[in-house]
Amino acid sequence: MKYLDEFSNPDLARHLLDQIRSAATRPWAIMEVCGGQTHSIIRHGIDQLLPDAVEMIHGPGCPVCVTPLEIIDKALEVAARPGVIFCSFGDMLRVPGSSSDLFRVKSAGGDVRVVYSPLDALNLARANPDRQVVFFGIGFETTAPANAMTVYQAQRLGIDNFSLLVSHVLVPPAIAAIMESPTCRVQGFLAAGHVCSVMGTAEYPPLVDRYGVPIVVTGFEPLDILEGIRRTVLQLEQGRAELENAYPRVVPPDGNPAAKAMLADVFAVTDRAWRGIGMIPASGWRLADKYRDYDAEVRFDVGGIRTEESSICRSGEVLQGLIKPHECAAFGKECTPRNPLGATMVSSEGACAAYYLYRRLEHAPAAERAPEPASVGR
């Protein structure tokens, strides 16, 4: 794909790695906020190729991982109701709620469907006027414009059998919350490039100033990530703390004004409890009051949810970068991608799943991988 494949060039990657290697004279801990960046780092083996001095801490930028448990349970409740077609991005289907997940709801007869875009859910609503179509609107600022437009269209076209279950989360408050933590080890951030392509970069200089940390807006392909790391290391070595944009090809400083206008119309800021982290004030978006009619939480009156997390799951500490996944006692034993205890083991860019899939060789749990049963099918 043009303007994508070139940014995986291994020779150029080697240049960048050499630069990082010669620049880093002391240990540094850098957090990449975005789950997509975590995925790319692990998938390409970048964390392996970086010099020991540079440690990547995987941040809470995985919307699957941080969607509050209560919202997951509400989603499961709504999805199980007869007459409902519950639509979701694929990422959410295996996320464990207190006692179930969307896949089990589907097995039990719920009409749960994976869609690529929220517009597909809206089309389903148009095609099935006698059913209630609910879309699970999760994600960061990157995904919010799509969800916003969909609700806006629903209202404009009068598609009244459509509603949105919203759980958006915002990056800048998360960075602040991480830096406020007394056990924080993060010294620099790779900001999420696609979030910034929508929102612009204006929210980050105040964070740079308040916490004295370099923040580098970074993309997702290997060269982009290495460049983001390179610039962060240089700043740290030189004692600078600035906002830099290492992803200018899709991040203009003011982002996308049309998208921001829609976001301001459709969403209102709210406090949000991040799964595994806790309440972060003003860190989420809910539907604005004028779109109340399209809010699934209102339409379905889902109350009285009692949430219950696994008592041994430490995904919160993983999300904050306080421990690495293999430092959790349940990693690879009670908790595997097949039997996830927490959301960080479900999504492929949840740090635990990424570690499990890609790092089992180096961080093998004490029990040896059990032999697979002799193949009994295709």
């Binding site: 794909m1 043009k2 303007y3 994508l4 070139e6 940014f7 060039n9 020779d11 150029l12 240049h15 960048l16 630069q19 010669s22 620049a23 975005c34 789950g35 997509g36 930028g61 991005f89 690529y116 875009s117 929220p118 517009l119 597909d120 960061f140 990157t142 995904t143 414009p145 799509a146 437009m149 269209q153 076209l157 999420a192 696609h194 979030v195 392509s197 929508v198 970069t201 200089p205 740079v208 997702f220 460049e227 240089l234 070595e237 030189q238 600035e242 906002l243 830099e244 944009n245 200018p248 090809r249 899709v250 991040v251 203009p252 400083p253 982002g255 996308n256 049309a258 998208a259 829609m262």
Partner: protein, 102 residues
């Protein structure tokens, strides 16, 4: 978050008063909502996330970035020294591609 992929706009049309485009991703084609790129035109590159174009891709900027990476390899051979390299790069950077201090 944020699997957003670059593609080239092939054609634009209004559907239900919504700006839609057929976008080509190197052979794979998908219908994409372009309401957020109001003046989108055929031939433009956009990045697409869950069926929406969320930003333009600046081709010149992309090529400049790649050129910078190529340059880095050459400069590394010449200079080797990271600080000299950074200084030289400060001279090379233009305001658009370079750092935004504050």
């Amino acid at each position: 978050m944020c699997l957003a992929v670059p593609g080239q706009v092939v054609s634009v049309e209004d559907r239900d008063h919504t700006r839609m485009a057929e976008v080509d991703f190197g052979g794979v084609r998908k219908d994409v909502c372009c309401e957020y790129i109001p003046d989108v035109a055929s031939g433009d590159y956009v990045i697409v996330h869950v069926g929406f174009a969320i930003q333009r891709l600046d081709e010149e900027s992309a090529l400049n970035t790649l050129a910078e990476f190529e340059q880095m390899g050459i400069l590394e051979e010449e200079f080797g020294d990271q600080f000299a390299l950074a200084a030289r790069q400060a001279g090379l950077d233009d305001p658009e591609n370079g750092r935004t201090a504050r």
